[in-house]
């Protein structure tokens, strides 16, 4: 989601609806104005005049927070895994594995559950799942997604930078 720049306090009327809709926003505080008192993580402010890089850094931070809060990966009907405006094509087996992980995004999916999903009539080898998880990991790394192992319990899909 894009960060909206708002002059403070000149455009403060506009601010209410941005707050209500959860839009990330950066307030440009005039040289003599006092900064706003909101502690919403999706709101930030900077004192004018400001270095352009500083503005961009704060915008980037707000964008990242908004992305953390909202984005869920989805697996569409064509077998494409989408996440944050990017996507990758998955092979059939990977599709099933990713499907199980996406349905329980951020939670652990048992190894046996995933084996059953990818090979309903029984797993080919005990190691097969490991290998496909490895291949899935490499594919989705470009999306900023990662599969984390929870030893003796299963696997967990999450955003690569941080948690959920």
């Amino acid at each position: 989601m894009d960060v909206v720049l708002v002059r403070w306090p000149e455009e403060s009327s506009h601010l209410e609806e941005l707050r209500a809709s959860g839009t990330p926003r950066l307030l440009l505080v005039g040289p003599d104005a006092s900064p706003p008192a909101s502690h919403d993580p999706l709101e930030d402010w900077i004192r004018l005049p400001a270095d352009d890089r500083d503005v961009r850094a704060r915008v980037a931070t707000l964008e990242a927070r908004a992305g953390d809060a909202v984005t869920l990966p989805t697996l569409d009907n064509d077998g494409l895994l989408r996440f944050r405006d990017a996507w990758v094509a998955l092979s059939p087996v990977e599709r099933e594995l990713a499907g199980a992980l996406v349905e329980r995004y951020g939670a652990v999916v048992g190894r046996n559950v995933m084996v059953h999903r990818a090979w309903p009539d029984g797993a080919p080898t005990r190691n097969a799942l490991d290998v496909h998880i490895l291949r899935l990991r490499r594919r989705i790394s470009s999306l900023g997604l990662e599969v984390r192992t929870v030893r003796s319990r299963g696997y967990l899909l999450q955003s690569a930078n941080g948690n959920t």
Copy 2:
């Protein structure tokens, strides 16, 4: 909880443990340094030289956020210990120990209670609990949690930087 001021990038070594313990912090960015890229809501930065009121405003915001974030640790069904949007996987024994501690978060849990919980049919060695407590301590330190000893009474789970 109090906001810690950190010079950036001079004191960046100290920063890691502040992040881990969930301590709110304001980075004082030198005139020529580039701002940090964290999107933790409990971290903020300001460019030096800065107006004193601006510093106080940011400190106040961080304090307010820290006050909002009185989260309790939870042990979910997958054996993951979650705290403040981070998590770690626990081994089976650690899971039982952490479960006992989480249920009485901030209060003392007797050693015998924990032994009975982890090994209902009797402890393997008298030392076993100590070793597992040590391992649990190391694991949860990354979450900003700590296990404190109350001599001859038991153990107590709390947030690493002081409160509750």
